[in-house]
């Protein structure tokens, strides 16, 4: 009689059943020379800055799958709560699911406390979840919002460490964006100056990093108001074709009559028929 597993515990969450099989398949595939498909990443430039009245978050809009652009206009600024937004870099699915889970948790929490959620709460929830999975969830996040204590900006790394700073950048284009911030950041900027600074930082990432591109999205969060500007600036417009086989609008169509001209045929050489003499 076959042994039946009576003790199977019904647990939800991640299941590691296929890990050994995947490792085996990857080994086999590498022997043959091909490689397994890679996850879609958002090789990205994301950044945030605290200004006088609130927080501005900025992001580019390119998602890559290996060496190919998978999405030319993806949205990297995710909603967490009405006063808190989060930009995500790293594996696209991980950032998407993590921010959605934290958004649900924060909503339940705020319903239970009866208050507007705080940025520090979202930060703590994200940090504890990412540390639990020891960096296997590849999500690098820039979390910003305005709550009862003022504007706050955090950067959260995939292994679970966080930093609370006045300006942060993440992603593959983070060095280019940070260079712009280090040069021109001043505390307590006005909104327009801060928007221009963030736009320039993301543009630096877009033009100097292959993993970032397309448009610039901005999210301006102030007390009581959120401006989600998508797109704020189209830095990379797709080229316009110079020639076109289509007729322009407004062309009048008419049918053509084609007449054949008959040419006279000139005989240039003639074969003389030789006289036939009959001999009797």
């Amino acid at each position: 009689m076959a042994t039946l597993t009576v003790n199977r515990a019904a647990l939800g969450g991640f299941s590691f059943e296929n890990c050994k099989r995947n490792a085996l398949l990857e080994g086999e595939a590498n022997k043959v020379g091909c490689s397994l498909p890679s996850a879609r990443k958002t090789g990205t430039t994301i950044c945030g800055v605290v200004f006088k009245d609130g927080v501005i978050l900025g992001a580019d809009t390119r998602a890559t799958e290996g060496m190919v652009v998978a999405d030319k206009n993806c949205s990297k600024i995710h909603y967490i709560s009405p006063n808190i937004y989060c930009c995500g870099a790293g594996t696209a699915a991980d950032t998407e699911m993590t921010t959605q889970i934290i958004s649900s948790n924060l909503e339940l929490h705020s319903l239970s406390t009866g208050r507007l959620p705080r940025v520090a709460t979202a930060n703590r929830m994200l940090k504890q979840m990412l540390f639990r999975y020891q960096g296997y969830i590849g999500a690098a996040l820039v979390l910003g919002g305005v709550d009862c204590n003022g504007p706050h900006l955090y950067s959260i790394y995939p292994h679970g460490s966080t930093d609370k700073l006045p300006y942060v950048t993440m992603g593959s284009g983070s060095l280019a964006a940070m260079a712009v911030f280090e040069d021109r950041y001043k505390p307590d900027m006005e909104e327009e100056a801060a928007k221009q600074l963030v736009r320039d930082a993301i543009a630096a990432g877009i033009f100097n990093d292959l993993g970032s591109g397309s448009n610039i999205d901005l999210c301006v969060i102030t007390k009581g108001k959120v401006d989600y500007l998508r797109p704020h600036d189209e830095a990379n417009k797709k080229g316009v074709r110079t020639g076109d086989y289509k007729y322009k609008r407004g062309t009048t169509g008419y049918s053509l009559l084609i007449t054949h001209r008959r040419h006279d045929v000139f005989i240039s050489s003639m074969e003389m028929m030789s006289e036939v003499t009959c001999v009797l």
């Binding site: 039946l4 009576v6 003790n7 939800g12 299941s15 296929n18 050994k20 889970i101 948790n105 239970s112």
Partner: protein
């Protein structure tokens, strides 16, 4: 392992900190090694966990409870974790038959997980699993008749 009604041991002994002994229960169906999916059987394969997170995830809830109870004991004294653990055991006894999925509403409320969502609510929902335990076997096991 299903938490037994008669389990009188503490939390520490319930920790699963090792994977079962090699050679005794291969992972394939019918008790034979499934070469297509898990490769050839080897001692190393069966002794080591297949992913570094596997053990820590299996024990996560238990470790969290242990940490919370010890903090509570340090703050409020021994009576607080004792009372809570008594309530947990009472709530764990309100279950359906072993092969049916129960909602664990009382246990969730005590733990506070009715106000939280995690990956274990979204991925691999046990209520939607495709395999079910054999009813007669599971009831006999629970009653100790097997």
């Amino acid at each position: 392992m299903l938490l037994n009604l008669l389990d009188t041991r503490g939390l520490r002994s319930q920790l699963k900190d090792s994977v079962p002994v090699a050679g005794l229960c291969p992972h394939g169906a019918y008790g034979v090694q499934d070469s297509l999916r898990s490769g050839f059987s080897s001692v190393k394969n069966e002794l080591l966990p297949s992913h570094s997170l596997e053990l820590s995830e299996k024990n996560f809830q238990l470790n969290k409870d242990k940490m919370n109870f010890s903090t509570l004991r340090n703050i409020q004294g021994l009576h607080a974790p004792l009372k809570l653990q008594m309530e947990y055991r009472a709530a764990r006894q309100i279950q359906r038959l072993p092969f049916l999925q129960s909602s664990n509403l009382a246990l969730d409320t005590l733990r506070g997980s009715d106000e939280a969502i995690g990956f274990d609510d979204i991925l691999n929902d046990p209520a939607q699993s495709e395999m079910m335990g054999e009813p007669h076997m599971m009831v006999e096991y629970k009653l100790g008749m097997l």
